[in-house]
C-alpha cells in the first residue's frame, strides 16, 4: 500500500493500539478533532475516549501523566502539538523520565511524539528541531525517521520499547512523500542507520527531511561525476557508530548535514565520533551544513536563508570532492 509519511505513522500507532490494550494516546486536540495534523484522526471512534484522551494545554501534565501511567505497565503515546512546545515539559522529561531507570530502576515505556522541522513557514515557534536538547540527556531514545517505511517501523518499535522514546516527526514530510509500505507487522530496530544511497566519492551523514535534500543534491551531482553516499541515521540515540565509521572508511570524505543550529549541533558530536573511529581514513576536513545560529525566522525568504538547501549540499560536495 502506498502511504504518506503521516499515514504511515498513523497506521503504526493504530496497529499497536489494536494489538496491545496497554497502548493509549493522550495530547491536545487529539480526540474528536484528530490532532492538529490529523495523526490520530478517527482514533477516538475506533478506540474510545478512554484510550484517546484530550488533555488540558499543559505539557508538563501530559508528560507527567504519561510517565505515571507507564509505571503501572501502560504504554502511553503522548502527542506534542508541535515539538517546539516540548520545552514546556523539559523538567518532566529531563529530570523525571530520563533519570528514572538509572536512579531507581523503574522502566518508563512511553513515547513522546510530534511534528518538528522547518520548510513550512511556521515561524520561530512552529519550526524547530529540538532533538539535541534530548541527545545530551542520557536515558532517552531519540528517533527521527525520514521515510514512510521507517516512520511506521520506528513508531511501532518505539511503542514496544521499554524506554522513553522521543519521536520527532518531520512536518515537511507528512504529506509530501509517499512510498510502498508493507501491510504486515514489522518494526525497524531503533539505533540502526540505513544507507539511503550507495556512493563512492563522499558521504553525507544526515537524517529526517535532510535525507531528501541530500538525495536531490546527489541527483544533480551524478551528472558531474560526483557520487554521493547518503547515510540516514534514523535515530540519534542510540547512534549507529559502526555505520558512521563504515561510510567514512568507504568514501574518506564526509559532510554532516542537519537542520538545527550549527553550534552544539549533532555535527559536532559526529565529528568527534569520526575522529575516534576513523581518523586515519579521512582524506579531507569534516564539513558541516546546518541551520544558522539564530531562531528560525518566519518570512519565507528569511526561512529559506536560515535552512540548509540542496544548493548548499551541491556546493560543499564539489568543494570537498576537489579537496
Amino acid at each position: 500500500m502506498q502511504l504518506t509519511y503521516l499515514e504511515a505513522i498513523r497506521q503504526g500507532i493504530w496497529e499497536e493500539m489494536a494489538q496491545d490494550p496497554s497502548v493509549f494516546c493522550l495530547g491536545e486536540d487529539i480526540g474528536i478533532y484528530g490532532g492538529a495534523f490529523k495523526v490520530t484522526d478517527g482514533f477516538i471512534d475506533a478506540f474510545g475516549p478512554e484510550r484517546v484522551i484530550d488533555t488540558p494545554i499543559a505539557e508538563s501534565a501530559i508528560v507527567g501523566a504519561a510517565f505515571g501511567a507507564s509505571l503501572t505497565g501502560m504504554r502511553p503515546v503522548a502527542e506534542f502539538q508541535f515539538m517546539d512546545f516540548i520545552g514546556c515539559a523539559f523538567n518532566q522529561i529531563s529530570n523525571m523520565v530520563a533519570k528514572t531507570h538509572y536512579l531507581w530502576g523503574a522502566p518508563a515505556p512511553l513515547v513522546l511524539r510530534g511534528p518538528s522541522g522547518g520548510y513550512v513557514h511556521g515561524g520561530p515557534f512552529h519550526s524547530q528541531n529540538p532533538e539535541m536538547w534530548f541527545v545530551h540527556n542520557p536515558g532517552l531514545k531519540v528517533i527521527c525517521p525520514a521515510t514512510p517505511y521507517d516512520a511506521k517501523g520506528l513508531i511501532k518499535a518505539a511503542i514496544r520499547d521499554n524506554n522513553p522514546c522521543i519521536f520527532f516527526e518531520h512536518k515537511y514530510l507528512y504529506r509530501r512523500i509517499k512510498e510502498e509500505v508493507p501491510q504486515d507487522d514489522y518494526v525497524v530496530p531503533i539505533g540502526k542507520a540505513r544507507v539511503a544511497r550507495e556512493g563512492r566519492d563522499l558521504s553525507i551523514i544526515t537524517y529526517a527531511a535532510m535525507v531528501h535534500t541530500a538525495l536531490e543534491a546527489a541527483d544533480i551531482l551524478k551528472n558531474e561525476g560526483i557520487d554521493l553516499e547518503i547515510l540516514d541515521l534514523r535515530s540519534l540515540v542510540p547512534i549507529d557508530r559502526e555505520a558512521i565509521a563504515q561510510t567514512v572508511k568507504k568514501t574518506n570524505k564526509v559532510i554532516i548535514l542537519h537542520e538545527h543550529s550549527r553550534t552544539g549541533g549533532l555535527a559536532g558530536e559526529l565529528s568527534a565520533i569520526i575522529n575516534e573511529e576513523a581518523f586515519d581514513d579521512l582524506d579531507g576536513p569534516i564539513v558541516r551544513i546546518a541551520g544558522l545560529d539564530s531562531a528560525i525566522p518566519f518570512s519565507p525568504p528569511q526561512e529559506h536563508h536560515y535552512l540548509p538547501k540542496v544548493e548548499d549540499v551541491v556546493r560543499e560536495s564539489r568543494r570537498l570532492k576537489a579537496y
Binding site: 493500539m17 505515571g68 505497565g73 501502560m74 507528512y174
Partner: protein, 459 residues
C-alpha cells in the same frame, strides 16, 4: 462513556459525626464560620443558589482544626548599635494561645491510633539517628528533617490501602516507614551506600518501588510528582481500578507551575489524587506570605473545582480522618482532594541551616504543639489506650529497632566506582512490563485500519 468526566460535585462521605466533633466550615474569601457539623467535604464545593443574593457565590472550606492561629510575618528593618541596618523577619499574632486538645478521630480505632503513634516514634528516632550519623561524619551531603511534621507524614500514609500509590517529599520520611520501607533504607541513602535502594545513585528519600510498595521516587524539583501521580491513577483506571494516589507539596513547592498543571489534570480527569499540602510556614528561608496571597492554601481547591480541607498537621487524628475521607473518595472514583495541613518546620531547610531567620517566638509556639508529645499525651493520659509502662516499652523497642537499622546501614559498603556505569536504559530482559492491575479495559478497536484524508495545519 462510563467515566465521569467532571469532578463529582459532592463527596458523599460522611458518617454523621457529633456536633461537638465536626469541622467548622470557613467561607473561602469571607471567613464565615459555620457551626453545623455534617458532611464537611460534601459542602466543600460550590454552593450557589442557596445564597440570598444570586450574584454572590460562596464556597466553603471545611476546617477540622480546634484552633485557628493567625500570624503575620513581615520583613522589618532594624538598626544595630553601630547604626547598620539589617532586614529581619518579625512575627505578630496569636502566639500565646493555649494548645488545643487532639480531636477524636471518627475512624481510627485504638489499635490503629497506637500503630500511627509507633510509626511517628520510629520517624522521630530515625531522624535523631540520622542527625548523629551526620555529626559522626558518616552522611554524604546533608540531612533533611520532618521534625514537627511526623503526624502529617505517618497518619496520611496510614490511610492508604495496599494497592494505592504514594510519592513522598523530602520530609516525609515517616511515610516511607508506614509503607513498609526500613529505616536502614533511608539511612543508607543518606550515607550513599551500596545497599541503599538506589545503590548509591541518589540520596535522601529519592527512591521508589513500583512492584510491592507502590512508591514513585521524588525528584528535587517541586510539584513534578503531582501530574505523575495523576498518571498513575489514570493507568490504574484504564486497567479498571480506582486507586488513591497520595503525594505531598509544601507551601513553597506549590508555587510552581507544574503544581497547577498536575492538580488541574487530576481534576479534569477525575483521578484519585490525594494531595497533602504541607503548610509548614517556611520554604527554606522564605515565609509563606511571600509565596502566596490567599489566606489558606486549601482555598486553591476552589479554583480547581475539587474539595479542599484544612487540618491541624500536628494532630494525627485530624490528618488521618481527612486523608481517609480523601482516599475513600478516590476509591469511589470521585476524584481528587486537596488537604492543607497546617504545621511548622521545626528545623532548618537541611542540617546545615540553623534557621536563624525564624523568629524565636514561632518556634516556641509550635514546640508546644509537638505532634509526638501531643499524641503520646492523648493516648496515655486522655484515652488511656496505652499505660505508661506500655508506652515506655514501645519507646525502648523502637530505639532498639533504630539501633539495629543503624548497624545495618553503617556496615553496608560504599559502592564501587564502576557501579556508576550501566542501567541508563532498560535493556533486553531487565524488566517484564505488564499492566499492574490486569488487562486494560478500554475499547479494543479493530485491526482494520481506516485511511484518512484531512486538512493540514501547516502545508
Amino acid at each position: 462513556m462510563n467515566r465521569a468526566h467532571r469532578a463529582a460535585p459532592m463527596g458523599n462521605i460522611k458518617p454523621k459525626s457529633k456536633a461537638s466533633n465536626a469541622p467548622n466550615s470557613r467561607n473561602g474569601s469571607r471567613a464565615r464560620v459555620r457551626a453545623d457539623a455534617s458532611s464537611a467535604l460534601e459542602r466543600s464545593s460550590m454552593n450557589n443558589g442557596r445564597s440570598a443574593k444570586r450574584n454572590l457565590r460562596t464556597y466553603e472550606i471545611p476546617d477540622y482544626r480546634l484552633e485557628h492561629p493567625e500570624f503575620q510575618i513581615l520583613q522589618r528593618v532594624e538598626k544595630d548599635r553601630q547604626g547598620q541596618e539589617h532586614v529581619r523577619y518579625e512575627v505578630t499574632g496569636d502566639l500565646d494561645s493555649p494548645v488545643p486538645p487532639i480531636r477524636d478521630s471518627q475512624y481510627l480505632d485504638k489499635q490503629q491510633a497506637i500503630q500511627i503513634y509507633r510509626y511517628m516514634l520510629l520517624n522521630r528516632k530515625m531522624e535523631i539517628a540520622l542527625e548523629n550519623l551526620y555529626k559522626q561524619g558518616k552522611v554524604v551531603g546533608g540531612v533533611y528533617f520532618g521534625l514537627g511534621q511526623e503526624a502529617c507524614s505517618c497518619a496520611s500514609a496510614f490511610a492508604l490501602d495496599k494497592d494505592d500509590w504514594f510519592a513522598p517529599m523530602i520530609r516525609n520520611q515517616g511515610s516511607l516507614l508506614v509503607r513498609g520501607f526500613r529505616a536502614a533504607d533511608t539511612m543508607m541513602q543518606y550515607m550513599a551506600k551500596a545497599d541503599s535502594p538506589t545503590k548509591g545513585r541518589d540520596g535522601t528519600s529519592h527512591f521508589g518501588d513500583i512492584e510491592k510498595r507502590n512508591m514513585v521516587s521524588p525528584i528535587s524539583m517541586l510539584g513534578d510528582l503531582i501530574p505523575v501521580m495523576s498518571g498513575v491513577a489514570l493507568g490504574a483506571r484504564l486497567q479498571g481500578r480506582n486507586i488513591a494516589v497520595m503525594t505531598y507539596i509544601g507551601d513553597g513547592g506549590q508555587s510552581t507551575g507544574v503544581t497547577y498543571e498536575g492538580i488541574n489534570f487530576a481534576a479534569v480527569q477525575n483521578l484519585g489524587l490525594v494531595l497533602i499540602v504541607e503548610s509548614n510556614l517556611w520554604a527554606y528561608s522564605t515565609p509563606s506570605n511571600m509565596q502566596y496571597r490567599c489566606k489558606d492554601l486549601a482555598e486553591r481547591a476552589i479554583g480547581y473545582g475539587i474539595p479542599g480541607v484544612i487540618v491541624d498537621g500536628t494532630d494525627a487524628c485530624q490528618v488521618y480522618d481527612a486523608a481517609h475521607e480523601a482516599v475513600e473518595r478516590a476509591h469511589r472514583g470521585q476524584g481528587p482532594t486537596l488537604i492543607e495541613a497546617k504545621m511548622m518546620r521545626m528545623k532548618g531547610h537541611a542540617i546545615h541551616d540553623a534557621a536563624s531567620y525564624v523568629p524565636k517566638s514561632m518556634f516556641d509556639f509550635w514546640r508546644k504543639r509537638d505532634p509526638l508529645a501531643r499524641f503520646e499525651n492523648y493516648l496515655v493520659k486522655e484515652k488511656k489506650w496505652l499505660t505508661q509502662k506500655e508506652n515506655d516499652g514501645m519507646i525502648a523497642e523502637v530505639e532498639e529497632i533504630i539501633e539495629a537499622e543503624r548497624e545495618i546501614a553503617v556496615n553496608s559498603p560504599m559502592p564501587t566506582p564502576e557501579s556508576a556505569e550501566g542501567g541508563v536504559f532498560c535493556e533486553e530482559g531487565c524488566h517484564e512490563i505488564k499492566p499492574k492491575y490486569g488487562v486494560p479495559k478500554g475499547k479494543k478497536g479493530s485491526a482494520a485500519y481506516k485511511e484518512t484524508e484531512a486538512a493540514v495545519h501547516l502545508k
